[in-house]
């Protein structure tokens, strides 16, 4: 039951260029979306989020876009830096009592110097 899908297991970009990570979801009840970054041997760390009432949220080099009609969101990183190399997880919640997060499978981003 893959409610949140990240179809690209890996992505390689050059330093200074834009990284675009994509995420699709199937559950129309999701009303909040988050991106987490994960380095090896560490837990996921929060990066940026967006509510379903918005279509864009920006925080420094990171921007998340939400297309509700397509059930698609994307994370843009510009300019990409070598320190951005990590696994990026898309996550969603449906406003339940616990607001548990449903994660995608992750995309490994490699930023080449």
């Amino acid at each position: 039951d893959q409610q949140v899908k990240q179809n690209s297991p890996s992505l390689s970009v050059q330093e200074g260029r834009i990284s675009i990570l994509n995420c699709d979801y199937t559950n129309s009840m999701f009303d909040y979306f988050l991106w987490y970054k994960k380095y090896p041997a560490e837990g996921p760390t929060f990066l940026i989020s967006i509510s379903s009432i918005k279509d864009k949220n920006e925080d420094g080099r990171f921007t998340v876009f939400l297309n509700k009609s397509a059930k698609h969101l994307s994370l843009h990183i510009v300019p990409s830096q070598p320190g951005d190399s990590a696994v990026y997880f898309c996550a969603a919640s449906a406003g339940s009592a616990t607001n548990k997060l449903i994660f995608g499978t992750g995309t490994l981003l490699a930023v080449q110097p």
């Binding site: 837990g43 996921p44 929060f46 616990t98």
Partner: protein, 114 residues
């Protein structure tokens, strides 16, 4: 910045043995979670805990699993009789409120069942 602490970082056990994974959530947080990640797969929700009781659990969280907050600071996950398929990285997480607030994750415990 405050952080969620998990111990041990690695746990090796024999199939059928009981294991207890320990977590110290951020001190003023009220909602607690366990997630796991099997190698190469997605991070999966196991259980949420609020007000000293389980508020939600997944299908994975069967009778072999239990959680406890024994002393107001620790939050533990017990697996009574481990199976090979329990081998995974287990993450503890916490948040202050039940709303749309980010989860803070610990660094995880890598459980290997032999």
């Amino acid at each position: 910045e405050p952080e969620v602490t998990q111990t041990p970082s690695h746990q090796v056990t024999q199939m059928g043995q009981e294991v207890i994974l320990r977590c110290v959530p951020i001190s003023n947080h009220l909602y607690f979670y366990w997630y796991r990640q099997i190698l190469g797969q997605k991070v999966e929700f196991l259980v949420s805990f609020y007000n000293n009781e389980i508020s939600e659990k997944s299908e994975i969280f069967d009778d072999q699993f239990s959680v406890e907050r024994p002393d107001g600071s620790n939050f533990t996950l017990k697996i009574r009789s481990t199976k090979l398929e329990d081998s995974a990285m287990y993450f503890c997480a916490s948040r202050m409120t039940g709303g749309h607030e980010k989860l803070f994750f610990g660094s995880g415990t890598q459980l290997s069942v032999l």
